[in-house]
């Protein structure tokens, strides 16, 4: 496979009139467009009936969630504490975080289910406008687990109740930059072909914690 002429790339990107291409490039342009037309054929199936049947079976789960409702849900969600080990520079943070956790969950607080644990996500992203976590536990969907940096020190954190076991995840910074957790310690190939790695998190069930 050799690089194709930049003029052809420009024409395919709509940045150049394909009529201006030399004959050989124009043929390549036509060939690729013909291939694209083949791929545009829509599969003659529908999942609409199946999807609507499932929605009708359990219609009550979609609802608009305002900040107050989300806060109530967050406060009422069972949780325990698993503090992941961090390098030396986070010791002070960990101490502060521990204090916060004690304040939030006096008397041990509610606990997750037997096969669940709490994951603490912490990352240092100075200047970031937003940080969230996507992973195998939320189908890599954005918008479900946001980290917070309330004091603006560039250290973002969030907690989540997760099923016990192994989870892959990445941070999404400013809504567009996917980065592995530099402090995860364990990584696996992301299986997407670019040699990138997902961070690996192992959540221990609360019942297994001392």
């Amino acid at each position: 496979m050799s690089p194709i002429d930049p003029r052809l790339q420009e024409a395919l990107d709509g940045e150049r009139d394909p009529g201006d291409l030399p004959v050989d490039l124009r043929e390549a342009y036509v060939r690729l467009n013909a291939a694209t037309q083949i791929l545009k054929a829509t599969p003659p199936v529908s999942v609409a009936t199946r999807v609507m049947a499932e929605i009708r079976q359990n219609p009550a789960t979609v609802q608009s969630e305002g900040p107050a409702r989300r806060l109530i849900q967050w406060l009422g969600r069972p949780r325990a504490v698993t503090v992941r080990l961090r390098p030396v520079w986070t010791l002070a943070l960990a101490a502060g975080l521990a204090a916060v956790l004690v304040l939030q969950w006096p008397n041990g607080g509610p606990t997750p289910g037997v096969a669940q644990g709490i994951a603490n996500f912490v990352g240092q992203f100075p200047g970031a406008r937003s940080v969230e976590v996507v992973g195998s536990f939320n189908d890599w969907s954005r918008g479900t687990l946001h980290l917070n940096d309330d004091d603006g020190d560039g250290i973002w954190h969030a907690k989540a109740v997760l099923p016990a076991g192994q989870h892959e995840y990445m941070f999404v910074v400013d809504g567009e930059r996917w980065v592995p957790d530099p402090l995860a310690g364990r990584y696996v190939d992301d299986g997407f072909g670019a040699g990138q790695q997902n961070s690996l998190l192992i959540v221990r069930p609360v019942s297994a914690q001392p």
């Binding site: 690729l32 609409a48 999807v51 609507m52 969630e65 954005r142 299986g191």
Partner: protein, 185 residues
């Protein structure tokens, strides 16, 4: 997306969030063809693609309140579907479509046997060339050229940066063109 005379996505989303679950059918009808096409090209298997799209749409319904910008609902739905395809590929422990998954081409015109054979060969060739691409290049090519997205929208769907996406599309074009020219020679 707004069709002639049809309610805008934001209005339909508002209806659904207001309790009219049946209105979600409007969104299904609007986006199902593209999502099925996208998933089929990503997974190379119509059954797996249908499962992925169905699961994605149900998930979208359940989490509709978390769609921060209903005006960009299409991107959101493609992102969910792309994630589902990604999970499916990861479960298979491979990035690539098995060529055996690429179905025999559906022939559209049976009036001329020779023409049908030629068309069928073209379809099989293109589908196999696409299936041979790494998943990320396949995704970029399909979103750009099959689904007709801008690089900006592709960035929203995939989470990748625009220069990265341009590079993936360019590499995909090179690979596809090489595969096509090999047969023409």
């Amino acid at each position: 997306m707004v069709n002639d005379g049809a309610p805008a996505d934001v209005d339909v989303v508002a209806l659904v969030l207001g309790g009219d679950g049946e209105a979600f059918g409007i969104l299904i009808r609007r986006y199902e063809p593209g999502l099925l096409r996208f998933a089929t090209r990503m997974l190379g298997n119509p059954d797996a693609a249908a499962d992925a799209v169905a699961e994605s749409l149900v998930r979208a319904y359940r989490h509709l309140a978390q769609c921060r910008d209903p005006g960009r609902l299409r991107s959101w739905l493609y992102r969910i579907t792309g994630n589902r395809c990604r999970s499916h590929l990861a479960r298979r422990h491979t990035n690539d479509i098995s060529l055996s998954d690429v179905p025999a081409p559906a022939l559209a015109d049976s009036s001329d046997t020779w023409a049908v054979l030629e068309r069928g060969e073209q379809v099989a060739l293109v589908e196999r060339a696409l299936a041979a691409l790494p998943a990320e290049k396949r995704e970029a090519f399909v979103l750009k050229h099959v689904e007709g997205m801008s690089y900006e929208e592709m960035a929203t769907v995939t989470g990748a940066r625009i220069p990265t996406l341009k590079m993936r599309v360019h590499r995909a074009r090179e690979a596809l063109l090489a595969a096509l020219e090999e047969v023409v020679r």
